[in-house]
Symmetry: C2
Subunit: 498 residues, 2 copies
């Protein structure tokens, strides 16, 4: 009386899901704890684990079981059907890529990542370039076989790994819209900004322990469950671990607490998504978060939409003042709001403000397409990077460290990933606009540090739904339409020009 093939598939994917969790913890360890000399041994560990997982994911029995599960006369419920659809998608992708290529790609990424960790502080693009070329070649090779299997263009096959359902042409349209909007809004925001009092920077030092304790305080307030997660330190903030043990990181500057704290807010947004996934569907393909665009929407909703807003900063200002024993007017809520929404074109993506950030993404999106298409060689990347910075933001980085060496992504094999940051920013605006309109308790709560209405809304409409719906279906269900850049543009105009 049951769909036995489907039940067997759940059992197999459970095993795969658990093994994937071990990879996730090794990634966390690599970034937070592992000593430098262990990187080649760690690369071997990743390669072996991924090979084991690849074998389990792409074995012919999965294909046979999928066929039987589809043909079974016993109906699946909505979640089970969505789970089976996700299995088909995963299996198609997994079987497209030969195991040797998976192992070679994993090793190339580990070697390149380790080299980047050395090259970046030393501003030495040349030393990492051959390893990056290797990663790029293997990325192209992998994308080509996936594209073939999925019937997509090469770049769409890469996009599909990070935000399924979006295609190059849709992204291109949205990015052209944003790119043409940016120059004016940046100018207008800077004019409006110069007409207001100059924000006063609180003077440190801000002890790292105090910053970390404050971050944990806000994480608790936002609903982060420390029985199922941690906060640590790494070079580049990230959200790792697993839904039952979410590991977020930030990094701290004793002279400026804002960047570290905003890093924590950002990663807490990611973490809340993971902690809110349905326990019933743990380890199953349908039980994971949607693509990185939707994931980024959750981090940006918390960081940008909420934690840099007036209502939030009016609640948080006295807490910040107390944490750092602040004395002067720099700690007033309105000054903090001006600081947290200050617009200034700069070199580093992760420190960029909300308005110039999309320019950083469009640069990377255009460069990675050119590199993948072999319209640009890695030899010319530093110059091309600087030229685009000049064109879109009017500034030129003084070094590759502040240019094409700044982000881990490409060096770790994440090509097609960058667009999801800006897709996420647009999604965040669309979701939060809808949330506030449909439930006034959300913003009223934030004014007094009660995030329960907000988190409950997110749990109900997004986190708890996992992959039952696609990003586009979810967005349409919630807001009445698919992704529309107007929400993001409206948000920027209200926040920066009023």
């Amino acid at each position: 009386m049951t769909n036995d093939a489907y039940i067997e598939l759940e059992k197999r994917y459970r095993r795969i899901g658990i093994l994937n969790e071990t990879v996730s913890f090794l990634h966390w360890d690599t970034a937070t704890a592992m000593p430098k000399g262990a990187s080649s041994a760690r690369a071997e560990q990743f390669a072996q684990l991924k090979s084991v997982i690849h074998t389990l994911t792409s074995c012919p029995e999965i294909g046979e079981l999928i066929g039987k599960a589809k043909a079974s006369k016993y109906n699946l419920n909505g979640w089970q059907q969505a789970n089976l659809n996700q299995m088909v998608r995963q299996w198609t992708k997994a079987t497209a890529v030969p195991e040797e290529l998976v192992v070679a790609f994993s090793k190339a990424c580990s070697a390149c990542e380790a080299s980047w960790r050395k090259a970046r502080p030393e501003d030495d693009f040349r030393s990492v370039k051959p390893l990056l070329q290797n990663v790029l070649n293997l990325t192209r090779e992998t994308a080509a076989v996936k594209a073939e299997a999925l019937g997509l263009s090469t770049y769409d096959a890469l996009l599909d790994d990070y935000e399924p359902g979006y295609c190059e042409s849709e992204v291109e349209g949205i990015f052209q819209d944003i790119a043409s909007f940016l120059p004016n809004i940046i100018d207008d925001a800077r004019s409006a900004q110069s007409a207001r009092p100059t924000p006063i920077m609180p003077i440190g030092p801000f002890p790292i322990l105090a910053q970390k304790n404050l971050g944990q305080y806000f994480m608790k307030a936002l609903g982060f469950d420390f029985a199922h997660g941690r906060l640590d330190t790494s070079l580049h903030p990230f959200c790792g671990g697993t839904p039952d043990d979410v590991r977020i990181t930030s990094r701290y500057d004793e002279a400026n607490f804002i960047s570290g704290l905003m890093g924590i807010f950002h990663e807490t947004g990611h973490a809340m998504y993971e902690q809110g996934l349905p326990a019933r569907w743990r380890y199953q393909p349908v039980g994971y978060s949607l693509g990185m665009g939707m994931h980024e929407s959750q981090s940006l909703l918390i960081e940008m939409q909420v934690c840099r807003s007036r209502p939030f900063l009016h609640w948080a200002a006295p807490i910040l003042r107390k944490a750092f024993n602040g004395q002067n007017t720099a700690w007033d809520a309105e000054n903090l709001f001006r600081l947290h929404t200050h617009v200034k074109p700069d070199f580093i993506r992760v420190d960029a403000d909300e308005i110039t950030y999309p320019a950083h993404i469009i640069i990377r999106y255009r460069l990675e397409r050119a590199l993948l298409a072999e319209d640009l060689s890695l030899n010319d990347l530093p110059t091309a990077w600087n030229d685009m910075m000049k064109e879109l933001l009017g500034i030129v980085p003084p070094s590759d460290r502040e240019g094409c060496l700044q982000d881990l992504h490409w060096y770790d094999g994440a090509w097609g990933y960058f667009p999801t940051y800006t897709l996420g920013a647009i999604t965040a605006a669309q979701l939060y606009t809808t949330a506030r309109e449909t439930n006034p308790n959300i913003e009223d709560g934030i004014r007094i540090g009660d995030f329960f209405p907000l988190i409950s809304w997110l749990r109900t409409h997004i986190h708890g739904v996992a992959r039952l719906k696609s990003s586009s279906e979810l967005l349409t269900n919630i807001s009445g339409e698919p992704l529309n850049p107007k929400f993001f543009k409206d948000h920027l105009q209200v926040r920066y020009l009023n």
Copy 2:
């Protein structure tokens, strides 16, 4: 022109070795970083990884390849032959235990360990007892099938997991010798001690960061390579990780720096063994350290033989004084020597002095044999524990927290492990006596903080040899005879009665 079957075996064991490293890092993470709420998910991860490894280790092809490798006309060199012998041993043990039992045992241990972490601070043996019973039952079941396959007694099959080559009757003989020697030496040492000035305890607080920094200073001096290892904090000090990334831990008491520092010395001894293993044989069965007895000999050689000796403490005293800004005569070398060799029967094994320590081990050895043989039930364990403490050390723990709940071992499935501590202490005395006799530079170096002669000797004679020889062969090669308790007894008499 090659032994192809042997080459294929090396390839397979390399894979197994690398996957085992991932298990090792998850163990480190569990003890140092993992939040409480993640313990059941972690148990799933261990179970799945161990199941993958068990499948690879016990698959019939390994047996076939072993047969072919043995029958090949191409000779193996000494290392390769020893490697093949280790493969045979591992394969015999792996195939003896059905996979379901491996998984059940792993899950039982993870659940029991998590429960113990809660029960110990709450002094609640009752709550963890059913989980411990489960671990005990599965230990007995596993030992029985291994004993059958290896042609050993049940307890010898357990011993064989931790110190291959020793049997119950040999251990029993050595332990009876030590047990009959202990009461007199404890009395005599305490008499001698009371005739000397009472040692003065330096007064804290000793900031935890200062203790950790000092520990790292001594680790570096001893030759620990921080490019391939770390020092962290956990409830129970341990040495984990892998030879390329050795993770040691200690724990700190702000009122007393000695226990934390000695923990670091102890684990550094373990770490030096791992870091000194031959890179050529990495991941191969012959390339690992010998049993836990030999491993413990390395930690005790550093902690007990070296770091609690007069020559070491005369060098270290001014460093300790400076690190904690010590002012009075408590920081004089002779006072520190008296403190570090102070004899006092107490409840906690890990804090026990060198002379009373073997009594703690003999208690656990006798109790675990009785529990395994069903001559004792877990209901009666707390009382039996206290009775033996009374008999051997003349004191009774005021709580189970200071009694049968103090050690993780049994709760984590390590039965047959405890004897290796005292076998290690005896081995350490035998090795260090021989080392000093054959190379006077060793002790001369220690007097001035130069550990290079000592570590070089250990690298040459023990670390770099890995499993090329058995513990007994190694000991006979080095000292001219197999394990003999007289070296340990002589050492105690010289140190405590002179």
